[in-house]
Symmetry: C2
Subunit: 256 residues, 2 copies
Amino acid sequence: MTPILAIANQKGGVGKTTSAVNLAASLAVAEARVLLVDLDPQANASTAYGVDKRSLEHHVYDALVGRRMLRDVIISTEVEGLDLAPTDQDLVGAEIELVSETERDTRLRDAIATIADDYDVILIDCPPSLGLLTINALTAATGVLVPLQCEFFAMEGLSQLLGTLDRVQATRNRSLNLMGILLTMFDRRNRLSFQVDKEIRSYFGPVVFETRIPRNVRLSESPSFGKPAILYDVAAAGTLAYLDLAQEVLGRLERD
Amino acid sequence: MTPILAIANQKGGVGKTTSAVNLAASLAVAEARVLLVDLDPQANASTAYGVDKRSLEHHVYDALVGRRMLRDVIISTEVEGLDLAPTDQDLVGAEIELVSETERDTRLRDAIATIADDYDVILIDCPPSLGLLTINALTAATGVLVPLQCEFFAMEGLSQLLGTLDRVQATRNRSLNLMGILLTMFDRRNRLSFQVDKEIRSYFGPVVFETRIPRNVRLSESPSFGKPAILYDVAAAGTLAYLDLAQEVLGRLERD
Ligand SMILES: Nc1ncnc2c1ncn2[C@@H]1O[C@H](COP(=O)(O)OP(=O)(O)OP(=O)(O)O)[C@@H](O)[C@H]1O
Ligand SMILES: Nc1ncnc2c1ncn2[C@@H]1O[C@H](COP(=O)(O)OP(=O)(O)OP(=O)(O)O)[C@@H](O)[C@H]1O
Ligand SMILES: [Mg+2]
Ligand SMILES: [Mg+2]
């Protein structure tokens, strides 16, 4: 069964897209066949791979509402071994359109099932909410990777997120597990970063990835060139951290 | 007519809550009678004022679904002249519960109308999405203040947000205007910050506030003490920037 990882956290701006984009590229560099699904109407993951949203004929929305097969939406990227299911802003409409439909929660799971065997790992970038799109991702996923910014508000939202994971696991997807919590934007100059690190590790233990993503401007510059960090600045601290994370993720996938 | 400002941007983590919380306090310090409405199910604005969500008997959700008058939900804060309409996580349910109701977009507008005369300014902290809660805020508002992080992804989302403002103005709320764009988390050490500043000001001109909010750790520490920055560290760069912003906002309100 191909592992499907939802990169999720309803708190905004914690590094979901940056993690999805750079982990996907790092896994592909480690020889895995990877698919990245952009499930956020902001379409930041699509932009990060240089996709011109106006030029897309079909995208994730068409696969969710059943107009297209997911296979017909998928495109290749500059990174060997990495495919992308891009999105555009129309995806905002899916939340309202699917609410009264049957099987509204399992649309993505069924769409991904048609192509899962073509890949070794599938990643899903989620929007900053616990609405229908994120519920679709959690219902389709085998595991959840939770990026956590080293900030006070980000910690506040964790219990709400973990409560939602429990509910989805109990009612829609028994095999869903918390694959790991990833500390992001860790800033050595900032006492708060060390406090969050200490508190989260003492509370969650080994669920927290050893890899910590440092605050690194190269990670926020690379999307403007339509490239993941590994193609923009291979020696940057942020790039190396995501390469380390890919190794840790592969280790956890083998263990499970 | 009491000015009602929606602090909105669907991009996550751009400083909506930090701006709502600290602008509200700064306006109150400038002798305005202020109400802050927390319309985000994350309830970060409520936390920033030390509200214990478990102790709330009623909150914004009750006023939106018509179970309570907004007046019965409002509490005072440590800041003289500033009241708060707090929320808790149940607000997540409002998006799903209201979708099939009549007048789902005007619930907040009608609730605020019952208490507007008690205040000189009303601020609404919005969640990171363009769903029903944000549409309610834009329908109730007289103006929108858009916090914009000095980052590439944040700029990307601006056209989507401005498109939504136009649609709400055309179909639900003719008097809605873009009160201003506020540059947040400006980091002097980071070239990207200067690029975003230059690009946004040349494109949007005087709509962009002269006040720029610097990246300042005191702004991210103060919520963990349940206080706005002005009660936590009155001389911090972030605190002073929001005091400047309050003066600029008052100037724009007088002009209109
Ligand atoms: N480690 C990092 N160092 C520096 N900047 C970062 C880092 N990670 C992310 N960023 C920047 O911070 C901002 C927020 O990150 P990102 O957009 O990935 O978060 P998100 O959780 O996907 O946001 P949203 O909730 O809007 O989907 C972006 O501008 C991004 O470029
Ligand atoms: N000027 C600043 N300097 C330093 N940190 C800041 C600044 N503004 C906000 N922050 C911190 O950045 C994070 C994001 O800010 P905030 O939560 O206010 O954004 P938001 O747009 O309300 O997020 P969401 O989309 O989740 O509602 C928070 O942890 C906050 O403390
Ligand atoms: Mg994102
Ligand atoms: Mg917020």
